[in-house]
Every structure is written in structure tokens, then in C-alpha cells.
């Protein structure tokens, strides 16, 4: 198919990236006029979210869309191809960016705005959107770099000693992962002679049982696993995510790890399905250990933000569990020995999930659950960090030893926090429940009952950790004399206690959490389409090359 004669609506494919770069550049030009920043940035993020939603609707109606950059035809030109997976992620990203930018209007001081908070935020969102929309492996690498540069800027905002320490670890680990990504992409190009994802997806079938392909798949798994903070490459995340401002932590925890997950789904599951099946056992172990490390790590922390860091890791493990599911027998996930203990407990839940996703293979079920969980995790982790930020500003510290009594002084905040904590633990009626149901059911269907049991165990441990947060920081009476530790200075520096408007972004996110919990049907339909599009990329390939090839 020769691409050309694009209608204005086709430009929605590139609109999120172009908008981010335009607004980022515009804000950088008025960098010194910090009072104008929110009035430019908030409409900018509204526009971005509107473009994302329109794109999602268009993809839902017409299937995957492709635009060739500069009208260079595939497979030579750079393709921007958006399918349901990319559209879902980019819309979710736009939503949390909007919520975070509203939160940032009062939590980021004038000095930090002058350092360029909003331009960096737009630059990072440009990178994130580009990564979700591109249909070219090397271009994906470029967008990773763009979002990394933006995130470096956000990470060291304030230039405190601790932040530079955290940023060094973050930069180093991410540069290693990105270099690995680049080297692997070199191998990939050497093997296929093309970097267009649709082209690779088509050609990969001819290379069956090729050791070189397995090498590439493993290298991508390591590179993206590092980005996503999967065990055993997760240690950089708790070491760096607690140092920047809360709103920055929120976006990083919500979005950046999920970009790694997205890239893994796109590259490993869509391009190399046989190699993915070979690696399924490994991914299942990685998922199980990541979940357990996250859950136990969360139990051991006494600082709210460090605790949330481990929640992020547990969430990544849960998403990976969904990626580990293949067809029973096909994946040969022999390492996970079947036990029947957890099976009975989840029968009821599995029945409900079966009603949600009738007639799907376990790989589609797993992937659909993983995408649902990723969307939920982006929303709820962002919300938790933002709520924790507000709570820490009021209490003057983020240490659970010092916080207390917030239930009485801030009932609205406490209620929202409770919603988010229940959601992140996977309890009904909130958004974390359904993806876990789908994943547990999928794990049993795929013959991995141990993995299903570990998902349930992680859910239980996270409930305990969440209960601890709520009991200590909100429910109990405020401790008589707060200890004056060094960390307190950071929060005092962030300014006055949060005004009422701080609840607005939390409310926005809570609406999603409740809506996806009570009416999961609309979201499972979308994630199911996304999962089917990855397992059978014919429509994706068709949108790039036309139906014939």
C-alpha cells in the first residue's frame, strides 16, 4: 500500500508527540515568566489528553493506523503505527500527566519552575508518547532517549545532594539498559535488514528455531526488564525514586517503568512469539520473584515513599506474570510445579473472569490482564504518590513513624488514600481487582498454578502493607512530638500545606479507579482487542503494508 493523502484526522497519530514538543519548546521560551507556566501547561496537557482520547476512539473504530514520516514508504521510512495497545497506554499516560501537572501547579516552587519543571515534563511526555506510538525499533530507542533526558532534568530538580545521589544511580542503570537496547537493535538490523516492526513481525516466521533470534530476544528481555525494574534488575528503583519531588516520583513510578513493559510486549511478544514461548518459564520466575521482592520490601519499609517504590515493583511483577502465560504445553513452563491448593479458592473468581473474556486463549487472557493491570497500575501508583505527597506536606514528614491522625484532620484525603490503597492491593470494588482475577484465572488455565498462587499471596501481602500505611499514617492519633529528622527539611521547603485544589487530581484518578472497578467491561473489551492485536499482528502489519502483503 502506498501511503499518501493523509486527512487531518490521520495526524492524530503524531499529534501527542508534536503537541508535547511544541508546548515544551514554547514553555522553554518563556522560562523566566514562571507565573505564566501553569496557564500554558495545563491547557497543553488538556489538549494532549484530548488528542490521546480522539486517537483511542479512532483506533477503536478503524483499527491500527499508520503514518509514514515524510512520506517515505515502508519498510524504509520511519512508521508511526498506533494500535489499541499503544493507544491505551498513550491515553493513560496523557491522563496521569494532566493530573500530575495540576498537582504540580502548587507543589512545585517558583525556583523549580524556573529550572524548567514544565518544559522537562512536556519533553518527557513527548518521549513517552513517541515510544507508545512508533512502529520502528530504532525510533523506539530514540524516544527512550528523549524521555530519559526529560526525566534526568526532572530528577535533579532542586539539585540537593540526595537527589544527585539517586539521579546518578538512575542515570547509570538506564544508560546501561539503553546501550544494551541499542546493541541488540544493531544485531536485529544485522539479521533482518529492517527495523520496521511490521516488517520484522512478518519476516520473523522464516527464522524459526534460530539461535540468533533467541539471543536477541533474551537481550531485549534484559534491557527492557532493567527499564521496568523487574527482579533481579530492580535495585535501582528503590534507590532513586524517593529523592525527587513527589509529583516527579508519581510520574516516574506510574509511567516510566510501564514504558519498559510496553516495549517488552511490543518487541518480545509481537515480534518473536516462538522465542517468547521459549522464555516463558524464565519470565514466570522473574514475575514471581519480582512480585515477592516488591511485596516483602513494602512490608519492611517505614517510609511512605520507599514503601510505595516497592509497590511499583510488585505491580511490575504482576504485569510480567501476565506476559509469562502461553498456551498449555506450548510454553512448557515445567519449572512451576502444579499444586491444587490455590485452585479451589479462585474457582469462583475464575468463573467471573471467564464471563468477562469468553473464548480466549490463555496467552490472550494473560496479555489482556497484563495490559489492564498496567493501565490500572499507571493510574493508581501515580495517585498513591500524589496522595502521599499531600499527606507528607501536611504531616511534615513521609516517615510512617511520624505521620498520624490524618483521618481526623483530612477526612477527604484519607478516604481517597483508602480507595487507592485498596485498589493497589487488588481488592474489590476497585480497578486492581479485575486484572488480578483475569491473571489468576489465566495462570491456572495456562498450567501455572504456582504463579497464580503467588499473585494471590502478593495481593495478600500488599493488603497487609497497605493496612499498615493506613493504620499508622491516617487512623491512629497523631504522635505527641514528631521527631525532627533531617528529611523533614525537604517537605518544609516544598511550601505551605496543600490547598483544597490538591484533591482535584486525586479525584480525577479516583474516578477512573472506581469506574474501572465497578464497570470493568469497557476496559476489558479494549485490553482484549489490544491483546489480540499483539498475539495476531495481522492488522498491525496490514496498516503498514496494506492488506495484501
Amino acid at each position: 500500500m502506498v501511503h499518501g493523502a493523509y486527512q487531518a484526522a490521520d495526524f492524530l497519530v503524531v499529534a501527542p508527540v508534536a503537541l508535547c514538543l511544541l508546548f515544551g519548546a514554547g514553555l522553554l521560551m518563556i522560562r523566566k515568566r514562571v507565573d505564566w507556566h501553569p496557564f500554558v501547561a495545563i491547557p497543553g496537557f488538556c489538549l494532549l489528553f484530548a488528542a490521546d482520547v480522539l486517537l483511542l476512539l479512532k483506533v477503536a473504530a478503524d483499527g491500527p493506523r499508520t503514518m509514514m514520516m515524510g512520506d517515505w514508504q515502508p519498510p524504509f521510512g520511519i512508521a508511526f503505527t498506533v494500535d489499541m495497545l499503544g493507544a491505551l497506554f498513550v491515553t493513560t499516560a496523557g491522563f496521569v500527566a494532566l493530573a500530575s501537572s495540576i498537582y504540580a501547579t502548587f507543589s512545585i516552587s517558583r525556583t523549580e519552575r524556573r529550572y524548567g519543571f514544565f518544559p522537562f515534563l512536556f519533553l518527557m511526555m513527548g518521549g513517552v508518547s513517541g515510544a507508545f506510538l512508533t512502529g520502528d525499533v530504532f525510533n523506539l530507542y530514540v524516544w527512550f532517549e528523549v524521555l530519559l533526558i526529560g526525566s534526568f532534568g526532572l530528577l535533579i530538580l532542586g539539585s540537593e545532594h540526595e537527589q544527585l545521589d539517586g539521579a546518578t544511580k538512575y542515570c547509570f542503570l538506564n544508560l546501561v539498559a539503553t546501550t544494551l537496547f541499542l546493541v541488540t537493535t544493531g544485531y536485529l538490523y544485522g539479521l533482518f535488514g529492517t527495523l520496521n516492526m511490521a516488517d520484522i513481525a512478518e519476516k520473523a516466521g522464516r527464522f524459526e528455531n534460530d539461535g540468533a533470534l533467541l539471543t536477541i530476544a533474551v537481550l531485549y528481555l534484559v534491557a527492557f526488564g532493567m527499564k521496568a525494574a523487574a527482579f533481579p534488575l530492580n535495585f535501582w528503583l528503590p534507590a532513586s525514586y524517593h529523592t525527587p519531588r513527589f509529583v516527579v516520583s508519581a510520574l516516574f513510578a506510574g509511567l516510566l517503568t510501564k514504558v519498559g513493559v510496553y516495549a517488552l510486549i511490543r518487541v518480545l511478544l509481537m515480534l518473536f512469539p516462538p522465542q517468547h514461548a521459549d522464555l516463558a518459564t524464565l519470565i514466570a520466575w522473574v514475575a514471581a520473584l519480582t512480585m515477592l521482592v516488591g511485596a516483602f520490601g513494602a512490608l519492611a519499609q517505614s517510609d511512605l515513599r520507599r514503601l510505595l517504590n516497592y509497590f511499583v515493583i510488585a505491580g511490575i511483577g504482576t504485569i510480567f506474570a501476565g506476559l509469562a502465560l502461553t498456551e498449555p504445553g506450548g510454553g512448557a513452563a515445567a519449572g512451576m510445579v502444579a499444586t491444587s491448593a490455590g485452585a479451589a479458592a479462585t474457582d469462583a473468581a475464575a468463573g467471573e473472569a471467564a464471563a468477562l473474556l469468553p473464548g480466549s486463549t490463555s496467552q490472550v487472557v494473560g496479555l489482556s490482564g497484563a495490559v489492564f493491570y498496567a493501565v490500572h497500575s499507571i493510574m493508581v501508583m501515580t495517585a498513591l504518590y500524589l496522595a502521599a505527597g499531600t499527606a507528607a506536606r501536611i504531616a511534615g514528614s513521609s516517615s510512617l513513624r511520624v505521620m498520624g491522625g490524618l483521618w481526623r484532620s483530612r477526612p477527604a484525603l484519607a478516604a481517597l488514600m483508602l480507595v487507592f490503597l485498596l485498589a493497589v492491593s487488588g481488592l474489590p470494588p476497585f480497578s486492581g481487582f479485575w486484572p488480578k482475577v483475569i491473571l489468576v484465572r489465566g495462570a491456572f488455565q495456562a498450567g501455572l498454578p504456582v504463579l497464580g498462587a503467588i499473585i494471590l499471596l502478593t495481593g495478600f501481602l500488599m493488603t497487609v502493607a497497605s493496612a499498615r500505611v493506613f493504620a499508622l499514617a491516617f487512623w491512629r492519633n497523631a504522635p505527641a512530638a514528631p521527631e525532627a529528622d533531617a528529611e523533614n527539611a525537604v517537605f518544609r521547603a516544598e511550601g505551605e500545606p496543600a490547598p483544597l485544589v490538591s484533591l482535584l487530581p486525586l479525584l480525577m484518578l479516583a474516578v477512573f479507579v472506581v469506574a474501572a472497578g465497578i464497570l470493568p467491561q469497557w476496559l476489558t473489551e479494549l485490553t482484549d482487542v489490544a491483546a489480540r492485536g499483539i498475539v495476531d499482528p495481522a492488522a498491525y502489519v496490514g496498516s503498514v503494508f496494506g492488506g495484501g502483503s
Binding site: H3, G4, A5, Y6, Q7, A8, F11, V13, V14, A18, L21, L22, G24, A25, G26, L27, L28, M29, R31, K32, M67, M68, M69, G70, D71, W72, G77, F80, P119
Partner: protein, 139 residues
């Protein structure tokens, strides 16, 4: 470095280099050159001016903060891509017009606008790094 010869020649050298950088920028579409290399030449011109006459003089001469120049460049580059909406062609497609000014045909194109954007980004980015480094040294 503030010898009288250097301080006397630096402004002329800077002017010459900036002029040359614009020449390199504009010939870049068909010949060796372009926005990136042109931007580097211009940035080194400002660096030389800074070494000779001080950073404050460069900042005054530039008028805008180097980061604002870089931002304007990024803005121009993205706008160059957006023009293709009107031509119903893919994002970033090269579009050309050939208006006549006083009987001479002048080729204007979106790749040129993009290249000017790259030029400004490089000028702004590199000069802001160079000026920051020179400032640290002299103050």
C-alpha cells in the same frame, strides 16, 4: 587570554564565523553543511567572543537567553513538520515553494525551516553550555 590583539580581532572573527555559519546552514540541503554543523560554527564563534570579551558581553549581544534560542529552534523544527497537514502528506514531508523576489527564484522549503530549527537548537544548547563553563572560569 585578554591580550589586546585577541580582544581587537575577536569581534571581527565572531562576525565572520557567524556569517560563515549561516552560509554553511543554507548550502546544507544539496552540499556538505547544514543546521548542525552551522550551529556548531556559530556556537564556537560566541565561545570565542566570550573568551575575549567576557560572558556578560556575549549574553548582551545575543539578546535572548541561549536556552530560549534553543527552544525557538525546537519550535521551528516541529512547525516544519506540521506544515504537511496542509499538503495532506505524512508528517515531516518536505514541501517546496519557489517565489520570485525581484526576478530571482528563491527556493523555500520545510526542510530549510527544519534545518534552521536544528541550527538554533545547536547554537542555543552549545552556547549555553560554553557560556556556563566560561563564566565559572572567569568569575
Amino acid at each position: 587570554m585578554r591580550t589586546i590583539i585577541f580582544r581587537f580581532t575577536a569581534p571581527y572573527l565572531t562576525a565572520l564565523m557567524v556569517l560563515f555559519s549561516i552560509f554553511v546552514l543554507l548550502r546544507g540541503h544539496n552540499d556538505p553543511g547544514g543546521g548542525f554543523i552551522g550551529g556548531l560554527i556559530a556556537a564556537s564563534a560566541f565561545a570565542i567572543y566570550g573568551i575575549a570579551c567576557g560572558v556578560a558581553a556575549v549574553r548582551r549581544a545575543l539578546g535572548f537567553h541561549p536556552m530560549a534560542i534553543a527552544a525557538a529552534g525546537l519550535f521551528a523544527a516541529v512547525c516544519a513538520g506540521i506544515f504537511s497537514v496542509f499538503a495532506k502528506s505524512g508528517f515531516m514531508t518536505g514541501l517546496w515553494i519557489f517565489p520570485k523576489f525581484f526576478g530571482t527564484e528563491v527556493a523555500l522549503s520545510t526542510p530549510m525551516l527544519f534545518d534552521i530549527g536544528v541550527y538554533l537548537v545547536v547554537v542555543g544548547g552549545i552556547s549555553s553550555i560554553a557560556l556556563a563553563l566560561e563564566e565559572r572560569e572567569s568569575d
